[in-house]
């Protein structure tokens, strides 16, 4: 069986600057992979390239989901195919009501799957229930998307979207940064609820402590636009102890 996600010798540039310089990575269905790496190593760039952001140009290699190349797919098509990106910096949408945004996203998935649009009242109940698990209160749900949310609230709102969209492949870009200890636990529990033999995740983080909560099958170190080392969860501990020294940047 083809891996759920396969990244083959991926090269990508932003503007004229090459950032990703030959990434190889395969994630099988049900697996959780973590990516660590120094600031500026290309982690967020990789997440944007996976999500299909305009301006992040693939100059070589391929990205396949279930064996099918995603390169020709627009970001919305990728999302409807089951891809989700929790943003490192979630975007504020002044004037766009939270509930109508969540409903539009869920309906887009349902229409693609040939299902009916959600019933408005049922949907409000569903959102409230999932929000409660993430300690998101009604006031936040009523506001415009991400507007006036604290850093930690924005991260929890990303996980709420993930919980509603039930993606097969989630990329979480530093969802732990900016979270206090309690919020980290809440978010991790939220993520773990979605852990499923049919779903995979790619978790980008700087901190080993997240990986205590969301235990990965593999840990990769990205540096200078390439994956330099791959190991089990003990690799995260090693990075925590000794930093990125000894990880060969020039390879």
């Amino acid at each position: 069986m083809a891996p759920l996600l396969e990244i083959r010798d991926l090269h990508a540039s932003v503007g004229d600057t090459p950032i990703l310089k030959g990434i190889n990575l395969a994630i099988n269905v049900g697996e959780i992979h973590a990516i660590m790496g120094p600031n500026g190593s290309g982690k967020s760039t990789m997440s944007y390239v996976l999500a299909g952001r305009d301006g992040y140009e693939v100059t070589g290699g391929d990205i396949l989901m279930n064996g099918v190349s995603m390169l020709e797919m627009e970001s919305d098509e990728r999302a409807r195919a089951g891809m989700f990106l929790a943003f490192q910096y979630p975007v504020e949408l002044p004037g766009v009501g939270g509930m109508s945004f969540l409903r539009a996203a869920v309906n887009a998935r349902r229409i693609e799957a040939g299902e009916d649009e959600v019933d408005q009242l049922e949907f409000v109940k569903l959102v409230r229930a999932k929000a409660k698990n993430l300690s998101i209160n009604d006031d936040m749900l009523k506001r415009a998307v991400n507007v006036g949310f604290s850093g930690g609230e924005k991260k929890r709102y990303e996980i709420l979207q993930m919980a509603l969209l039930e993606p097969v492949l989630s990329v979480l870009d530093e969802t732990d940064s900016g979270l206090d200890v309690d919020a980290l636990k809440i978010v991790s529990d939220g993520v773990n609820l979605l852990r499923d033999p049919a779903r995979s995740m790619l978790v980008i983080t700087h901190y080993q402590r997240l990986l205590n909560h969301i235990v990965p099958d593999y840990v990769h170190i990205l540096a200078g636009g390439k994956i330099r080392r791959t190991g089990g969860k003990e690799l995260a501990l090693e990075v925590e102890e000794s930093g990125y020294v000894g990880i060969d940047d020039a390879a």
Binding site: G52, D76, A79, R80, L93, A104, A108, Q161
Partner: protein, 416 residues
């Protein structure tokens, strides 16, 4: 310029007296302003001269059936077809509203002539031609919205409805103009006087046909402690200018005059306002939003004038335009003329595009690009529409922008 080459052709117009005769003389001397005239620099009228127009003399057979609006349910509708009032409609006017005809009411006609924008081609031309002239006097609290519905089917005619509305001291009313006409030129002339401590909620929708020109001139006078809450949407027509001159003539008057223009193809929308703070302690606020697609052009000219002793004036004006296409163009010309020293006045104008990061955030959730664009445009406009406090008027205006949006997402592929 000889009379017969001017548009519309006024050869049939004869026997005018009083203010209308004066207006005709001024019109014949000046005609349509040349583009060198500063106030008309952004909006050129050359295309009008190429039309072959005569003033409308009869209503269209279709009546107001063409109106496709969510008009407030309990409204009293006065229909003007080709600029000619259907007199039978006056029977629907609610208690508290008294109608008369301007050609039989010299006092009201003189007051109107004094209140509409001075040295303005529409003031002169429409006062002279006056396809219908209606005067409404409103006393007490009138909750039933009064809708002036303008339709027309003849693109060879120009329509010149003239309406004056006078709210007595302490009165309140709801007034809307709905323009959905296919005449060659619509040139409505309005004078609105809001008495002391009176309140008027007002909306105007310019939804004329794609080939029509719409040139409106409105004079608005606000008395002491009065409130005017007005909103205009310009979405139809080939060439449109909605010009409003406001005089805050008593202290503590509160004037909101916001507007949205929505343009596509090669439409031209012009919102021009002249806010004159003649007395102190008044508040004026204008939120202007424009969305332009294709090769459309939008203009906002807003002058705020504060008289020497109009202290404690608060005059705010903010114009923002959103360009959806590289070929669209927006101009804003805010002007502050302040002769008092203790005032709070601010204006701002921005022109921008949709934010790519916001679009990406939406599409990364599976929302298609067209829908995502629509969501961001709505958000941009809601900011202005949310300021309308009269629910019936808001409910009438909202579908106009929504309808525009559902047909606006066609051009993106072409200009990338």
């Amino acid at each position: 310029m000889s009379v017969s080459t001017m548009q519309p052709n006024l050869d049939q117009l004869a026997g005018l007296t009083g203010v209308r005769a004066g207006a005709l003389t001024r019109w014949q001397e000046t005609g349509w302003p040349h583009s060198r005239v500063e106030q008309w620099r952004f909006t050129r009228l050359a295309s009008l001269e190429k039309m072959d127009l005569r003033p409308a003399s009869a209503a269209a057979v279709t009546g107001t059936a063409a109106i496709s609006a969510d008009l407030p349910k309990n409204a009293a509708i006065l229909s003007f077809s080709n600029g000619v009032l259907d007199v039978a409609d006056l029977a629907v006017l609610p208690v508290g509203v008294k109608a008369s005809f301007l050609n039989e009411n010299d006092t009201a006609l003189a007051a109107l002539a004094a209140s509409v924008p001075a040295s303005h081609p529409v003031s002169d031309l429409s006062l002279a031609v006056m396809t219908s002239g209606l005067h409404l006097e409103i006393a007490g609290k009138v909750d039933v919205p009064i809708i002036l519905a303008f339709t027309g089917d003849d693109n060879g005619v120009s329509s010149h409805p003239v309406v004056s509305v006078k709210l007595a001291d302490g009165a309140s009313a709801v007034l809307a103009e709905w323009h959905q006409s296919a005449v060659g030129l619509s040139a409505p002339l309005m004078a609105i006087e809001v008495g002391d401590k009176a309140r008027l909620d007002y909306a105007k929708v310019q939804h004329d046909s794609a080939q029509s020109a719409h040139l409106a001139a409105t004079g608005l006078t606000l008395g002491e402690g009065s409130v005017f809450e007005g909103f205009q949407i310009s979405v139809g027509g080939q060439l449109a200018r909605l010009e409003t001159h406001v005089t805050l003539s008593g202290e503590n008057a509160d004037c909101t005059l916001s507007a949205i223009y929505l343009g596509r193809a090669n439409q031209h929308h012009d919102i021009t306002t002249n806010m004159s703070h003649a007395k102190g302690h008044c508040l004026s606020n204008q939120i202007i939003r424009g969305v332009l697609d294709d090769s459309a052009r939008g203009v906002f000219q807003g002058k705020v004038h504060v008289a020497p002793d109009a202290q404690k004036t608060d005059g705010q004006q903010m114009s923002r335009a959103l360009l959806l296409s590289r070929k669209a163009e927006a101009d804003a010309k805010p002007e502050l003329e302040i002769y008092a020293d203790d005032v709070l006045c601010a204006h701002g104008a921005t022109v921008g595009e949709l934010d790519e990061t916001q679009l990406f955030y939406l599409t990364s959730r599976g929302i298609d690009r067209d829908t995502a664009r629509g969501m961001l445009i709505s958000a941009f406009l809601d900011d202005a529409i949310d300021s309308i406090s009269h629910l019936g008027l808001a409910a009438m205006l909202r579908p106009v922008t929504t309808a525009w949006m559902t047909t606006s997402n066609h051009s993106e592929a072409g200009d990338q």
